[in-house]
Symmetry: C2
Subunit: 295 residues, 2 copies
Amino acid sequence: MIDPRLSINQATIKYADLKTALSVTAQAGVEAIGLWREPVQEVGLATAASMLTDSGLRFTTHCRSGFFTMPESPQRRASIADNLVAIEEAATLAAAGADGSTAVLVLVAGGLPDGSRDIVGARERVRDAIGELAPHASAAGVTLAIEPLHPMFASDRCVISTLGQALDIASDFDPATVGAAVDTFHIFWDPDVLDSIARAGSEGRIATYQVCDWNTPLPADVLLSRHYPGDGVIDFESLTRAVIATGYHRDIEVEIFNKEIWHTDPLIAVQRTAAAFAAAVSPHLTPISTEQSHA
Amino acid sequence: MIDPRLSINQATIKYADLKTALSVTAQAGVEAIGLWREPVQEVGLATAASMLTDSGLRFTTHCRSGFFTMPESPQRRASIADNLVAIEEAATLAAAGADGSTAVLVLVAGGLPDGSRDIVGARERVRDAIGELAPHASAAGVTLAIEPLHPMFASDRCVISTLGQALDIASDFDPATVGAAVDTFHIFWDPDVLDSIARAGSEGRIATYQVCDWNTPLPADVLLSRHYPGDGVIDFESLTRAVIATGYHRDIEVEIFNKEIWHTDPLIAVQRTAAAFAAAVSPHLTPISTEQSHA
């Protein structure tokens, strides 16, 4: 059985073009998909939107923009401009997705600028950039999802390392416009993770819930260390129940960067993802009944 | 100039035996050393203590024990017993070191037990183990230093990932008996790091301050990704000033796991460490004068 709340993030089948990604996802019986900018831009936004509509899939997130930790400069202006394009893409794709689609744009903050050791300053510039983007996101009906990345990426990819930190930045803005991405891989280690999820829910900030697993040893490229849910050490029960307890009722993405999975036939990778999700995540999507909770 | 507060952690020159480690450290003009259990046990504790006395060096930490996240079992009993041995070693070596030596035993909690996904339970068992060890440490005059390790080690090496979390556990105990290791590599990314250092100081919990640098890309074995201070992205100024502002007045260790440095001649590695420390850390060891602070 395919869980009706499962969404395949396109990164899980990175080597599939947009057409293939849409068709294998639908063929596997999955109802929703999260897209990446590059394969969308490869065919053009209008074509991508119409392909998405034809697929009948819901659209869950647009991945990803951000990367705005640099000081004021033409490079920073280019980043802001590119983020504005990403906001328009997210709005267009959400309108083209099946009913229940969400216009969520995932933001990865970026690492320390070259030669800089000022992580505090870099974090302030993330807040500033989101302040610039928020009115545009609001006008477009897009929710910006600040994604905290695992601290092993703090210096070179994302200076936002915890869900609490993402929420602190989001708190300056309307929850409909700025929320957070809750990704099990990045935050499972956090001693405050359950409290932070509860806080994110009570503040209306869970823009997307994404699941994949963590295991060791880490591969040489730690970026590719994500696994099918169940193939690692993450406790999906406590994390998923915490998310569901907040009232989160939308789709749940599986986003896996893993060389071996990327070299799997994409239909098979989607089917395996669906099976892993059904085993590791689905059992925790319904509120615990009184009987079970006393078991 | 060799900073009089510099201590060489023996792991920085891992391939040197105890005799060599002591002699090259003293020969370089460094006044203090942190030792590891294996090279001490290789010569025997009594011999190691007398070699340490002969070296004239201060002793700063004993590294390391811990690894007690497993449930009650003969394996857990063996771990507790081994930790008791480590406490005695730390006390003996501190007594053998030059004046100003500290009896500090560094504790690395351990990762998830095989097959477990219960990181919350593993953390509770760390607290329990320290509760068992604390009376023995107190009797021996040894301070147990809970070392938070970078979250990339949370599953396989240390379930204690932040300084705040280490302090929460330590708070059950007398600060003379249980403190925390403040290691820049492990905590620089933490958005709460400066507050946590201030808290650690005000609670009297900074058992040792250790410095080394973080850089990317990470090597295939992320355990070996530590660098000379200044060779990475860590802001030693803000971290060191925060530690010094708490009144921390003891030695500061440089502990580097790095294959290239391990393959350097140990005297040269110690000299390079001393030069790196002088450039990246020493300038931040004195309180800022009024004039400087207004500059």
